[in-house]
């Protein structure tokens, strides 16, 4: 009977095209606004690396001011590390895979002398960065442990930079000048954009990934500048780059990969021991407060999903409810207009259940059509957000297949919910009163 009901639904929509269009438009508006905000919230709160998000842990140690906690409200430890702690923890090699990291930048001098130099962002990291975060490679691979230890001037490029500098050719083994130094290309990443950019939410949770990757210790070797947030609870003792690195200023992040809960407990114990050692050396004046947060815990801790985005989503749901109330009114009018047909169908043998199913299919069809148009409006809405907020939301403002399915299901469920009362009323029309009066 479903195909029969569907055919009747199409005919019914054609019978009152303006009324039908109004209902579809009401649902489309509600779905469009809801899907726009749902999309932003969904992508903000998505697991960026589901295959191992519960094995990757962000490292926090409390090296902060004895008199003022880093965060007055939550008493959380600082959200970044000092150079001293980052390098000490890396050298201890207590995790199966680990990487300290920092953001920097420099000027690239293109191979082609005719092209102008340009600035590019740098991610300083250890070679485990690529395997820990499942970074795909187009050419070559990550640099070696030796390259990390010996501070070799090697780099991995994003595909976009490789296209720009080397015309998309396999550049592995070739040289590139950046920040006034010559680097050897060891790998070219394939397209990779975790959303959110979980590994460094301090510097823009929805920013593009960095364009160039190089060994962490080159930060010190080449005195690469600090990009991103830097916080200090006391001033560096002395002037210059080395004084900054030896200071209590935080600018570095660290992730470890711990496959089991036992590994996590062991690593946390190691952090506590490390903090006690530092206390003995006159650092870490605050009580022990070390943390390991897996990817989703870290996203939550850092409030990656902004409160105003959540608020917008709830407001859009309220708007959807208003649209559905209008749809209920329109459906009541439409089904009242069908009273004679309903009476006739009852007379020739349709049960209330048959008519209920028929009219639910009709409201469902209206919902699906509204959902399709609503998804179109959501795309427009997302484009509007892009044009309002610029590149930083590029990674948030796109519909994937999951969201398309969610949009259509939301439209279907909403319209059926809106159609329940009008449908119930239609089914309870006394047929005898309609048959005589037509």
């Amino acid at each position: 009977m479903f195909s029969y009901y569907l055919r009747l639904a199409f005919k019914s929509l054609r019978r009152n095209p303006i009324l039908s269009a109004l209902m579809v438009a009401a649902i489309a508006l509600g779905i469009g606004s809801s899907m726009t905000t749902i999309t932003v919230n969904y992508l903000m709160s998505a697991d960026p690396i589901p295959e191992k998000s519960d094995q990757l842990y962000y490292v926090q140690v409390d090296s902060w001011d004895p008199n003022n906690p880093y965060d007055d409200e939550s008493n959380d430890p600082p959200n970044q590390l000092t150079w001293t702690d980052a390098t000490n923890l890396m050298r201890a090699k207590q995790a199966p895979a680990q990487t300290a990291m920092a953001k920097s930048g420099g000027i690239i001098e293109p191979v082609n002398q005719d092209d102008k130099p340009f600035e590019a962002s740098i991610r300083l990291a250890f070679n485990d960065f690529f395997s820990m975060f499942n970074v795909p490679f187009l050419y070559g691979n990550a640099w070696s442990d030796v390259a990390d230890d010996e501070r070799q001037q090697v780099i991995v490029l994003t595909r976009a930079i490789n296209d720009k500098v080397f015309g998309g050719e396999n550049s592995v083994g070739r040289s590139m000048v950046m920040a006034g130094k010559t680097f050897r290309v060891v790998g070219v990443m394939d397209n990779w954009q975790p959303t959110p950019k979980f590994y460094d939410v301090n510097n823009g949770a929805f920013d593009e990934v960095e364009e160039v990757y190089m060994p962490f210790y080159l930060k010190e070797e080449l005195e690469l500048p600090n990009w991103g947030n830097t916080n200090c609870w006391k001033s560096p003792e002395g002037e210059g780059f080395k004084a900054f690195l030896q200071s209590e200023c935080i600018n570095f992040q660290m992730w470890v990969e711990l496959p089991t809960q036992a590994d996590k407990a062991d690593y946390l114990a190691f952090l506590d021991n490390y903090a006690q050692e530092q206390k003995a050396l006159g650092r870490f004046p605050r009580p022990l407060n070390n943390r390991l947060s897996n990817v989703m815990e870290w996203m939550e801790n850092q409030q990656v999903v902004a409160d105003d985005a959540r608020m917008m989503m709830w407001l859009s749901f309220m708007f959807l409810a208003v649209c559905l109330l209008n749809t209920i009114g329109l459906l009541l009018a439409k089904f009242t207009g069908k009273s004679a047909e309903i009476g006739l169908r009852r007379a020739v043998g349709a049960s209330k259940g048959d008519l209920f199913a028929q009219h639910l299919v009709e409201t469902g069809l209206i919902g699906v059509l509204g959902g399709l148009f609503g998804l179109g409006l959501a795309l427009l809405g997302l484009e509007g957000i892009k044009s309002l907020y610029g590149n930083f939301v590029d990674n948030l403002a796109s519909l994937d297949i999951t969201l398309v399915i969610v949009g259509l299901l939301l439209a279907l469920v909403s319209s059926i919910a809106a159609g329940l009362y009008p449908t119930w009323r239609a089914c309870n029309i006394a047929p005898s009163s309609q048959l005589k009066s037509q």
Binding site: R345, A347, V348, G349, S351, D354, L435, Q438
Partner: protein, 234 residues
């Protein structure tokens, strides 16, 4: 086949109670053709609606094919209506945006027949009323008489044992009314029991049996050929 004993039906509003049927008794046998006449508001249509299971009743007993219908739920009543009863209305009640084929198809859809069986029945029914060549026409493309023929085809397609007609010629001119009446007589001769409500004594005379309803009761039973009360007084 149809037995009503002491049927009562009251319509209530906040202010008034209207006794549409009171102690209504009637028996219609298989193969009968009964014409029901009576003044406006006498309860003719209420009787027909109860007979067709479109209305419930407060008291009495109604046996359809020996089955007491008073305790049946909506689904069972609908099924019984679909399988045993065909309706013909004064205003045809065709669905305007369905072609003739689909209009006749409506009751068959609720019967659960497969597509081939439905097609056979629809073609046969439209053939019987002389409209087989207009299956793809919409009701608005037909005359009133033709539309009523389609309604008759729709009523017959399910091969009901019992045909209820409420003023089937009320919207037709004399010629068309006569034509429809001839068709109903043919259908009756083929074995279908018919109960027809009409205001027109001349049409009632074509039935095998006449009943006259007044104040919600069967007041007179007439054999064919007896003088009927004037419809003008009805």
């Amino acid at each position: 086949m149809l037995v009503m004993n002491d049927i009562k039906k009251v319509f209530r509003t906040d202010l008034v109670e209207t006794h549409a049927l009171r102690d209504f008794n009637l028996q219609v046998d298989e193969g009968d053709f009964v014409a029901v006449t009576g003044p406006s508001g006498s309860g003719k249509t209420t009787f027909l609606n109860i007979a067709g299971l479109l209305e419930t009743f407060e008291g009495g007993q109604y046996l359809l094919d020996g089955q007491d219908v008073s305790q049946l739920n909506d689904k069972a009543r609908s099924q019984l209506r679909n399988e045993k009863i065909g309706f013909i209305f004064q205003s045809f009640n065709l669905i305007p945006d369905l072609d003739l084929f689909d209009n006749v198809d409506v009751p068959l859809r609720y019967r659960g027949f497969n597509a081939a069986e439905r097609k056979r029945r629809i073609e046969s029914a439209l053939e019987m009323v002389g409209l087989a060549n207009r299956m793809k026409h919409l009701p608005a493309q037909l005359s009133g008489g033709q539309q009523q023929r389609v309604a008759i085809a729709r009523a017959l397609a399910g091969e009901p044992r019992f045909l209820l007609a409420d003023e089937p010629t009320g919207n037709l001119d004399t010629k068309m009314a006569h034509s429809v009446m001839e068709l109903l007589k043919e259908i009756n001769q083929a074995g279908t029991t018919i109960v027809m409500v009409t205001h027109d004594p001349s049409l009632a005379r074509d039935a095998k049996r006449n009943i006259y309803v007044r104040d919600g009761k069967v007041s007179e039973l007439h054999s064919v050929g007896q003088e009927l009360p004037d419809a003008a007084n009805a």
